[in-house]
């Protein structure tokens, strides 16, 4: 193993890239020189100096060009960036003008796909991996072996924090993966930049800590304490005490909505808007303590696991679960949803790890794992980590059913109580009974980051600007639906609901009106007059109802046709009316 020299050793990357840069620079100079020299002879020939040194591209003969036209893009790549442009059918537009406009738009969208696919060449980083050779097994590789094989800076990503006094620990990384927050059950809370190991703050809140959660920036975090939930800044100063969030077991932060979702011990689900500090919704799920909870990062739906083996999906807009699925025959221990919102992993007391397609709510794969199976989490690249007692088992390609053996295994010193992958890094943070362990999991993190979404290298000013922009783009909680792009679709449901409501009008009993005429003086409240007034009101209501009913009838059944053509007989009155 040790002899396996890392071929993709990245420690020297700095020098390498530096040298690459140099080469580029020299190349750039030479081309410009070439351009000038190409012009000069001409000038000498004419004898007149041009007013400005004009850059002229040497025109290449198209016949000489071995690669005519644009470089080809593979279909696969195009498909990756296609958001449905290919399925557009301009022919369906009604008028020719609309068709043309539609066509032009489709062309633009296809062009966008192409451009995005071409821009892939600019992605500089490549994912990590662990490649076995002839019969080696990856799960035999220990963390210290990996650490010793990789470069120094990567090696520092594996570390252990021995905090046996305050455990067990909950863990959270910021969205850019730069900062780490740990909270021990005995009140120990610490926030630090885990890459440089620079400590932001470390306090003991002198109360039980059940969960910790970063908010939208690394200057604020929420801690669910035994009684209430608190918000601290990165110096450990208490900013807010959220008394509405009491007895909270789990916290989740929805970054695009600025919502802090909290599941309580008393089965309450709360959504708190952290930008205005107000509770958005709060209702009881009536399904017991909510200690298994996660969010779907692609649609901001909260997934909860319950002791009866049911997983429920919640949005702040509906007080009933959107979906209730029986996932296991015994209690649920862990739920995780991958970044794209395609797969959900659940673990249960029945020692099963099940992978679900969340879009269809169907199980795609199931694995049997050893006893003690509890927490589960997905990485950005869909690497799955499971806690089994005090070991962590990591699976690759579990979502496609190819995980026959674990990818990596690591044994911690105590029972594992929390698992989080660090975004944009090959690192898994494990909170356990005796502290925190950071594991290197090659191939777990997304190699190429988008600095406008999450930037681990952002400066203070960038962070502030990002915060303002994010606040401007804050999505209202009303837009949380099972399908995140519902807002861009035609609202057929509303129309259907309206039709349904109308259809119901036909079969509704007339509404009962409770009306007692007011007593009036001067003989205006005799029984007859009162009754008269009452009937007037009833009549008015009846008229309105009948009007609506008639309209609906007309809409549904059309104009009533004249009775059959045959002449009406006097005996017709004895016919059954309802036939």
């Amino acid at each position: 193993m040790k002899s396996a020299k890392p071929r993709y050793f990245t420690g020297g990357a700095a020098n390498e890239t530096g040298s690459v840069k140099k080469v580029e620079a020299t190349r750039g100079e030479s081309t410009s020189e070439g351009a000038i020299s190409a012009i000069r002879p001409k000038d000498e020939a004419t004898g007149a100096a041009p007013p400005f040194p004009q850059k002229k591209r040497p025109r290449s003969d198209p016949a000489d060009d071995p690669f005519i036209g644009d470089a080809p893009i593979s279909e696969e790549k195009l498909k990756k960036y296609d958001m449905g442009a290919k399925n557009l059918r301009p022919a369906t537009a009604k008028t020719k003008l609309a068709q043309k406009k539609f066509e032009r738009r489709k062309e633009k969208m296809l062009e966008r796909c192409k451009q995005a696919a071409r821009a892939e060449i600019l992605l500089s980083e490549e994912q990590g991996f662990l490649e076995p050779e002839n019969g080696e097994l990856t799960h035999h590789v220990r963390q210290r072996e990996i650490a010793s094989a990789v470069d120094i800076s990567s090696a520092t990503k594996h570390f252990d924090l021995d905090l046996a006094k305050f455990g067990p620990y909950r863990v959270d990384y910021t969205r850019n993966g730069r900062h780490l927050l740990i909270g021990g059950k005995r009140g120990h809370v610490a926030a630090f930049d885990w890459m440089t190991k620079r400590l932001h703050c470390e306090t003991n809140v002198m109360e039980g800590v059940r969960d910790v959660q970063w908010l939208h920036v690394e200057t604020m975090f929420a801690v669910a304490q035994k009684k209430w939930t608190y918000i601290y800044d990165n110096a450990g100063v208490e900013l807010h005490c959220l008394k509405q969030l009491n007895d909270i077991k789990r916290l989740e932060f929805l970054p695009y909505h600025f919502l802090l979702a909290a599941g309580s011990n008393t089965s309450y689900l709360h959504w708190l808007d952290v930008s205005i500090g107000k509770i958005v919704t709060s209702f009881p799920t009536k399904l017991g303590p909510l200690d298994v909870m996660t969010q779907n990062p692609s649609n901001a739906i909260i997934h909860c696991g319950h002791p009866n083996g049911v997983v429920t999906l919640w949005s702040p807009n509906v007080k009933e679960p959107l979906v209730r699925m029986l996932a296991h025959s015994s209690g649920i221990r862990g739920v995780a949803v991958d970044q794209t919102g395609t797969y959900m992993a659940t673990t249960g007391m029945d020692r099963k790890l099940r992978i679900w397609d969340v879009r269809q709510f169907k199980q795609v794969h199931a694995y049997k794992l050893p006893l003690g199976l509890s927490h589960v989490t997905f990485s950005q690249r869909k690497v799955l980590a499971c806690a089994v007692g005090n070991t962590v088992q990591i699976f690759k390609d579990a979502h496609v059913g190819l995980a026959e053996a674990p990818y990596l295994v690591h044994q911690c010193t105590g029972t594992v109580t929390d698992l989080r992958f660090s975004p944009f890094e090959d690192v898994l943070g494990v909170g356990h009974q005796n502290g925190f362990t950071s594991l290197i999991v090659p191939g777990a993190g997304e190699p190429n980051l988008d600095a406008l979404e999450a930037n681990p290298y952002q400066s203070k000013r960038q962070r502030r600007e990002h915060e303002v922009k994010a606040l401007l783009d804050k999505i209202q909680p009303e837009l949380i639906t099972l399908e995140a792009d519902d807002i861009a679709k035609v609202n057929t449901e509303a129309l259907e609901a309206e039709l349904e409501r109308k259809a119901k009008v036909l079969y509704l009993k007339p509404e009962k009106i409770d009306y007692t005429p007011r007593h009036r003086m001067k003989g205006k409240s005799s029984a007859a007059k009162k009754e008269h007034r009452k009937q007037g009101v009833f009549e008015k209501h009846r008229k309105v109802a009948n009007q609506e009913r008639r309209e609906v009838e007309k809409e549904f059944f059309g104009q009533k046709k004249a009775e059959a053509d045959k002449p009406k007989s006097v005996l017709d009155r004895f016919k059954r009316k309802d036939v």
């Binding site: 821009a119 500089s124 990590g128 990789v150 988008d450 783009d473 837009l479």
Partner: protein, 690 residues
């Protein structure tokens, strides 16, 4: 075993010095950008809100005029120069960047009726005024020196109403009693056109096909001329008069007219029978219209004290501008750089507005511009979402506009309902659907016989041929288009079911009595009210019944003669008189709440209190359909006759035109106080309604 762990070199992600820009690596994979649609929606919503927040359209007010501003003219070659003319005959030349008046020219006595700049050289200005003068002024660059003396001035016999300059040649056209084409430095018109109309009150040269002219006349018609030809080309008559016309500077064949019926109509010159678009939103007569240089939008000014901006292919305005102090807008102008809109109104100010209310003035930095374009695109993407739509559409308008709009909506709905009911209870197909744009045009006339040869002062022939061929380009017969089928000079007010209109029948009877013609026996039931019959009589004085007309062509000719020569005034007065007796004899029917312009004279005397009460009642502030029915069936000849008649009754009414028809011109012989603008009543006393 091979291993690779993600390890980024910070140098690739951090800028080297703080003078560099930050490095921003991008990854366009969809997984990295969740909630794309929802975030775009939020951005679109924010952009829409910000647009409303930044909508501060008012830029400046150019004050200095000592009377209401009647005309604005742009300089075709200089962006910053604007010329305005007012009711007191003063012309002012403004410099827009400094918002200063460069010079003041006491040009005319009375109104400045028209202003135009010679687009070729840009150094001369032509103005026409109520003092029957065409004056040409120097317009040096920069403006300076003594400009008080005109270079050239021509005295006219009659009052000119507008002037427009040819875009290529040194020609200009004036209108008034007919249309005259003038050459610079000549004292007599090189050409004169007439088409049996008494007043042509606005005229414009086409900027692309430079010899084509469009004019609006007070007989409610729009006339196309070719300045090279000898005769007017085509003429189309609308239901009400058009106050202003504007050519689309980008499409040679399309133009927009501002109409008295609160609407604007965009026509295609090639198909005049139905306008391409009807633009509704104003709540009173539209007085002015001008296109943006892009040809995509136009600005309108109205008697309802507001300015609106319409996209030329939309039926409703995208923008409305108003201020507390702005009074009736008489003229508008869109600046040549497409950025500003100018308006001149009754209360002596020229106002400068932005063409796009929320647009940032000045140059934009590239990032700013990109952000704006992005926001624009987002708004476009989500413009159908109810919330976005609501914010985009929301405008605060003054109470009178708000209420009037509400009222018009109610009226339109009730008309629609009525029509639907009628349709539901009639035999299928008998009450056809008529498109909105087909409702406002009465018919097109293409009659070359009426036209005089070049250089002659036209006298229309006594009897224009009223043949079916003369009424060419009519729509196919249909019950809804009966008014259109009838030739314009055809006089009878006839319902398609063969019966005469009730009021008309009485009118005919009385007319017959007045003129000594035998009246045809009215076929319909004659339950009339004095008011309607009187108005009908006034409106329809000469027309004999069809049977009569067909048998006695001489009499028809006499009618035409009477109308053409304006001698019908006596007949009309007599008719009104006789109607008055008819009306007085019958009880006043209360369901006819409208009153036509001439009906007030014929109304049996009511107690003053009752009159006032009726006026306060919120009925028929729109174009009353009773009147429309009458107007529709009116002929040009009859209208002229009425005009003449009305004129004889109303001594005060002059033929200046130009002002909007005050609805109703309520009491004839009594000038409504709101109409008295300085010196005279600018009313034309035409067919109007209350």
């Amino acid at each position: 075993m091979k291993v690779k762990v993600l390890c980024r070199n910070p140098d690739d992600y951090l800028r080297e010095t703080k003078h560099d820009i930050h490095k921003v690596p991008r990854n366009y994979s969809a997984d990295q950008h969740p909630f794309q649609e929802a975030r775009e929606y939020v951005r679109a919503l924010n952009a829409t809100k910000l647009e409303r927040v930044f909508a501060k359209p008012f830029v400046a007010s150019l004050d200095g005029h000592r009377d209401g501003v009647h005309r604005l003219a742009k300089h075709p070659l200089r962006l910053s120069t604007v010329i305005s003319g007012s009711y007191d005959g003063e012309i002012r030349i403004w410099d827009l960047p400094s918002r200063k008046c460069l010079t003041t020219i006491p040009a005319h006595t009375g109104f400045v009726r028209g202003l135009c700049v010679d687009p070729e050289s840009g150094t001369s200005l032509i103005s026409v005024g109520d003092d029957c003068q065409i004056k040409q002024w120097r317009l040096p660059d920069p403006i300076g020196g003594n400009l008080d003396e005109p270079i050239h001035s021509i005295a006219l016999k009659s009052q000119p109403h507008d002037v427009t300059h040819h875009w290529k040649k040194s020609q200009f056209a004036t209108c008034g009693e007919g249309v005259d084409i003038w050459e610079h430095q000549r004292n007599s018109p090189i050409r004169t056109f007439d088409w049996g109309v008494d007043t042509v009150h606005t005229i414009r040269y086409n900027p692309i096909e430079p010899d084509i002219l469009l004019a609006a006349a007070s007989d409610r018609s729009l006339i196309l001329y070719d300045s090279r030809g000898q005769s007017p080309l085509r003429k189309v008559t609308l239901k009400l008069r058009s106050n202003a016309v504007a050519w689309n500077p980008m499409e040679a064949y399309s133009f927009t007219v501002a109409n008295e019926d609160y609407n604007l109509y965009t026509f295609d010159m090639r198909n005049l029978i139905s306008p391409r678009n009807v633009h509704m939103d104003h709540t009173e007569a539209v007085m002015a219209v001008d296109y943006s240089p892009t040809g995509r939008e136009f600005v309108t000014g109205s008697y309802d004290k507001s300015i609106r901006i319409f996209p030329c292919d939309r039926g409703h305005s995208r923008e409305v501008y108003h201020t507390k102090r702005m009074q009736r807008v008489m003229t508008v102008m869109w600046s040549m750089d497409d950025k500003f809109v100018l308006s001149g109104s009754d209360e002596m100010n020229v106002r400068v507005w932005k063409g796009h209310a929320s647009e940032k003035l000045g140059t934009l930095r590239p990032r700013e511009e990109r952000a704006m374009r992005y926001a624009e695109k987002l708004k476009e993407k989500f413009n159908e979402h109810p919330e976005v739509k609501r914010i985009v559409r929301h405008r605060h308008v003054p109470k009178h506009i708000y209420n009037a709009k509400k009222e018009h909506r109610t009226i339109r709905e009730s008309q629609k309902r009525k029509e639907a009911n009628r349709r539901a209870h009639s035999a299928p197909g008998t009450v056809p659907f008529v498109a909105e744009r087909d409702k406002h045009v009465i018919g097109e006339d293409q009659d070359e016989d009426t036209v005089a040869p070049v250089g002659e002062c036209c006298v229309p022939p006594l009897s224009p041929p009223v043949t079916e061929s003369g009424a060419a380009r009519r729509r196919p017969a249909g019950r809804g288009s009966h008014a259109r089928r009838r030739p314009l000079n055809d006089g009878a007010v006839k319902r398609t079911d063969g019966r005469l209109d009730e009021g008309t029948a009485v009118a005919l009877k009385s007319t017959a009595a007045a003129t000594g013609w035998p009246a045809a026996p009215p076929a319909g039931r004659l339950a009339t009210s004095g008011r309607t019959s009187a108005s009908a009589a006034a409106l329809c004085t000469p027309p004999p019944p069809p049977a009569f007309r067909s048998t006695r062509p001489d009499d028809r000719r006499r009618v035409d003669l009477v109308t053409r020569q304006g001698r019908s005034s006596v007949a009309a007065a007599a008719a009104i008189d006789s109607c008055r007796s008819v009306g007085a004899a019958r009880p006043l029917s209360t369901d006819h709440r409208h009153s036509c312009s001439s009906s007030a004279a014929a109304t049996p005397p009511l107690s003053l209190r009752r009159r006032r009460r009726r006026r306060r009642r919120p009925v028929c502030r729109h174009i009353c359909r009773h009147c429309l029915a009458l107007a529709r069936s009116l002929t040009a000849a009859a209208a002229a006759a009425v005009l003449a008649g009305v004129r004889s009754v109303v001594a005060a009414a002059n033929r200046t035109g130009g002002g909007p028809m005050k609805r109703g011109a309520r009491a004839i012989g009594r000038v409504p106080s709101s109409r008295i603008v300085g010196r005279q009543w600018r009313g034309s006393g035409e067919i109007g309604c209350d």
